[in-house]
Symmetry: C2
Subunit: 222 residues, 2 copies
């Protein structure tokens, strides 16, 4: 990817493994970087603490926007008091799917970026391991990029460095981009536990990735 | 337009002239209708009062979602204390343009509708009189419809009954759909004045429409 010198980007930053890798990827490619996190009533504040720590380590400006929209809408396991299941019934989406969440985050990110004259957005969504989340697919992201560009008369580019990587590939990318140490601060566990529970779908996927990459998870060796 | 009997729709409802016309249009075509308004820190609460009154008149369920995102992002005349100008400099967007606002509203509307099993969204956006707002254009709405459908794996339809109508045509449609009386409760004035200021871009556009349609504005004859 060719990036113009002096250009700016905004990264959608959850403080998780994937967005941490992307934060370092973006920091190595853009002159100015802003990390945007959402305080959206997630069940655990550990996510935002991780985001804050990693931005300090990486010396990246960190902005947190508050939104209660998903609490007001309700009906999912990431913001409500619903037990997280691995997957729903056959052909159902997992109950950690918050319908429209990534579309929402990216739309707000674009609106915020627009105010700062930033047109490059970076997000850690990934089609390979997308767990059935339709808003992580390349096709959705491309459609959204077009919609945001038309809707704000600006040429937005949504960069998705992890789109076609396996979890193992992502870890190798993290090492290459200098993000490994920061991954020790990144948060993954759906249960919000620290040390991580090791049993929820997110912990299992993370652990599998590190195993396949043959790398020790710095989060566990802290 | 053919609508299946028994189908449900959600209308994005500001309490303004255009969405009031669309509310009656939708009420005449869908079996169940939900009106969704946003309390987004608009400068005047009159908008939401109008929305409430009109939903009561029309016997339509009214839901208000709160969001402070645009206050947090800042930079526009509809939520900030910035004087409203008719248009910006040549080739600039007017300063009432809240970048991404309609994209945001429709994305949240779709997320909310999804939870209720509703896939038909209705909005009063209009290309003809779009005042330079790029998120009111047909091309943008079509791209967004595609994005929402992909992102939530649902077949959303965004209905835009006013898209190709002039303001005068819209008033004739309002009469046909039985919305004229309700227009007497609808709010338009950017300055939030009642009786309306008559001078702001929104008042001028409304007044021009009624003049061209040869109809007295029921808001002024209250």
């Amino acid at each position: 990817m060719q990036i113009q010198q002096g250009s700016s980007a905004l990264i959608l930053f959850s403080g998780g493994q994937d967005s941490t890798t992307c934060l370092y990827w973006a920091k190595n490619r853009f002159f100015n970087l802003v990390a945007l996190s959402f305080d959206y009533g997630q069940r655990h504040t550990r996510e935002l603490e991780s985001a804050f720590k990693i931005c300090s380590m990486a010396e990246v400006e960190h902005v947190i926007l508050e939104t209660s929209i998903f609490n007001q809408i309700g009906g999912n396991a990431l913001t409500d008091d619903i037990k997280i299941k691995d997957m729903g019934k056959k052909d159902e989406l997992p109950n950690t799917f918050v319908p429209g969440r990534n579309l929402y985050f990216l739309t707000v990110a674009a609106a915020f970026a627009y105010q700062r004259g930033i047109h490059d957005l970076v997000t850690g969504v990934c089609q390979t391991d997308y767990s059935g989340y339709p808003d992580c697919r390349d096709e959705t992201i491309k459609a959204l990029q077009e919609t945001l560009s038309l809707g704000m008369e600006a040429k937005f580019r949504i960069h998705t460095p992890l789109m076609w990587l396996t979890k193992s590939d992502s870890i190798h990318l993290a090492i290459k981009e200098g993000a490994l140490e920061a991954l020790g601060q990144s948060h993954t566990c759906y249960e919000g536990e620290f040390p991580p529970c090791g049993k929820c779908p997110a912990c299992k996927l993370r652990s599998q990735g590190f195993q396949e990459a043959g790398i020790a998870d710095p989060l566990l060796s802290e």
